[in-house]
């Protein structure tokens, strides 16, 4: 089998690019903490309302943790609880969410907060809300006839 000299040049260039891409995202994920949401905690999907932290959905100030607030959501067809939240600008927030029934999406439009909610699993993502404005939380995984009516809102405000 013979490979043309220029094809070798191209493949070395292309593979180098792929390696650079992988290194960039690998370092960002595993050394800078930008891993995609991959929480390994589980929960009984039929007892979500009774269990902490999902018995108190909403924004809670926390002490002694790496983050300032916990923002807890319970999703079910076709709504999120809470439906509206105000977050202070610059707050480091751990978003914690789960679903009571089918699979839902949890996407804060225009941000990197984008995770799947699956029955039995808790999804988490920690980030600093450093841009003021009104953000739409939208269900981006099909969940039934009211899928497109499932949303919530976050307002990031200066305090």
């Amino acid at each position: 089998m013979h490979m043309h000299k220029l094809e070798k040049v191209w493949l070395i260039f292309g593979i180098s690019c792929l390696i650079i891409f992988l290194t960039t995202i690998g370092v960002s994920a595993f050394y800078l903490g930008n891993k995609p949401p991959s929480c390994l905690l589980t929960i009984d999907p039929e007892k979500v309302d009774q269990q902490a932290p999902f018995n108190k959905p909403g924004l809670h100030k926390v002490e002694g943790k790496e983050w300032d607030y916990e923002l807890v959501y319970v999703a079910s067809a076709f709504s999120y609880n809470p439906g509206q939240v105000e977050v202070p600008l610059g707050a480091k927030v751990k978003v914690i969410a789960t679903t009571k029934d089918v699979i839902h999406g949890f996407e804060v439009a225009g941000t990197n907060i984008n995770m799947m909610l699956e029955p039995g699993y808790i999804s988490e993502y920690t980030t600093t809300f450093d841009k003021a404005g009104e953000y739409l939380i939208v269900c981006n995984e099909y969940c039934g006839s009211g899928h497109h009516l499932m949303f919530s809102k976050i307002e990031v405000v200066k305090k």
Partner: protein, 49 residues
């Protein structure tokens, strides 16, 4: 003998890298396109919270 020589000559002609310089230019354009689009979404990711 002459035949073998002719064959070798043809082979070197095919080997001649200049005949595929347009191909190399094309794939590199494609490569740069991939790099630019990838970087723009990467920076979007970095910029967003």
């Amino acid at each position: 003998m002459a035949k073998v020589e002719l064959k070798q000559k043809q082979k070197t002609e095919i080997e001649d890298s200049s005949s595929l310089k347009g191909t190399l230019a094309s794939v590199f354009l494609l490569g740069f396109f991939i790099i630019i689009t990838w970087l723009s979404v990467y920076f979007l990711f970095v910029d967003r919270f």
